[in-house]
Symmetry: C2
Subunit: 197 residues, 2 copies
Amino acid sequence: MSLRTIPARRGTAARARRGQHVRIVNTHGTQVVDTWAFSAEDVTEWMAMEASRAWFLKLAAALGDSFVTNRRRPILTLVEDTSNTAHDTLMAPCDAQRYGLLGVQGYHDNCRDNLHAGLRELGVTIPATPPSLNVFMNIPWTPEGRLSWGEPVSPPGSYVVFRAEMDLIVAFSACPQDILPINGTTGRTTEAHFSIE
Amino acid sequence: MSLRTIPARRGTAARARRGQHVRIVNTHGTQVVDTWAFSAEDVTEWMAMEASRAWFLKLAAALGDSFVTNRRRPILTLVEDTSNTAHDTLMAPCDAQRYGLLGVQGYHDNCRDNLHAGLRELGVTIPATPPSLNVFMNIPWTPEGRLSWGEPVSPPGSYVVFRAEMDLIVAFSACPQDILPINGTTGRTTEAHFSIE
C-alpha cells in the first residue's frame, strides 16, 4: 500500500481499474475529503449522489452499499470504514460563491476548483460539477429533516475503503472550509492521504 | 391565471421573469412533477438541490425557503403550498436505465428525456441532467436515514407557488413512474397543470 498525499486545501485525481480498492485516510482525523468518481471510458458518466440514494435508499451509505452513476451503474462500493461517520451525500461541494456568502473577500480555495484542477492533472475536463460524496463529513439530520454543520467525529488515521466497480477516475479535494466547523472549530485544514490498491 | 397542461408522461418548459410566480397544480392529486430551473441568461446556471439543502439546512424546503443555483443565487422561493407534501429533493429523476433496472423491456417514458425534450421546445440544450426538485413526491425518511417510495398525499387540485428570483426557464416532467408507488399504486399517471403569473 503506497499512500499518496491530498495536499491541504488542494485537489488531486487518480485512475483505478475495476476490482481495485480506493482507500482514503483521515490522517489527522479532522479533514473532510470531497470525492467524485467518473467512468474512465466516458467521463460524462459520473458517480451521482441523487441516483445513489435512490439505489441504496438511505441518506448515507452503509457497508456493502454501492454508489451508482448517472447511468445507474455501480461505480464505488463501500467495503471498509473505521471513521464512525455517515459520509455526507447531501451538501454541495464548496465553491467561490459560497465563500462570498460567508463573508470572505477575494479568492478562497474551494472544492469545486480543486475538483477541476485535479482532473486537469489527468488531462480530463467535465462539463459540470457533480454533487460530491463528502467523505468524513458529519452532517447530522433531525427526525424533522433539519440539517446542521457537524464537527468531525473520525479518529486520526481512520479510513474508508471503496471497491472500484468499473475502470474509473477518482478525484479528491481536501476541503478548505475554515469558517464552518466541518473540519473542526480551530479553522485548521490539513492534508489527507489515499491509495489505489 | 391561465393554466397550461403538462401532458401525462411528458415534459414541457416555459420562461418566467423575475418577480413572476410559477404555480404547479396537482390536478388529480396523485401526480409527481419533476421540476428544474435555469437562469435565462446562462442555462449552465441551474437550480441545484445540493446547494439548496446547504442553504436552507433542511432535507426539504419550508414556506419562505429559497432554492439556489449552482452559483448559490436564489432562483425559486416557495411561497404557497396546499399539498401537505415535503417535496422531495433527494432522488434522481427517472431515466431509461432506471426502468431497465426495474425490469422494463424496451423504451419507457422518463423524466430525464422529458426534461431535455421540454427544453428543446424553447431551443435550449444543457450539458448534463441536474438533480430535480420532485414536486408532490413523498419520500419519507426515518430518524436512522432510511428512505422509501411513499404514495402521494396531496389533495386533488392542490398546488405550490414559487416566486421567480431571476429571469429563468422552468422545466417540468409529469413523472411516468408506474412501477413504484410514487404516483399511486394504480399505475395511473396523469397530466398536471402550471401557470406563470
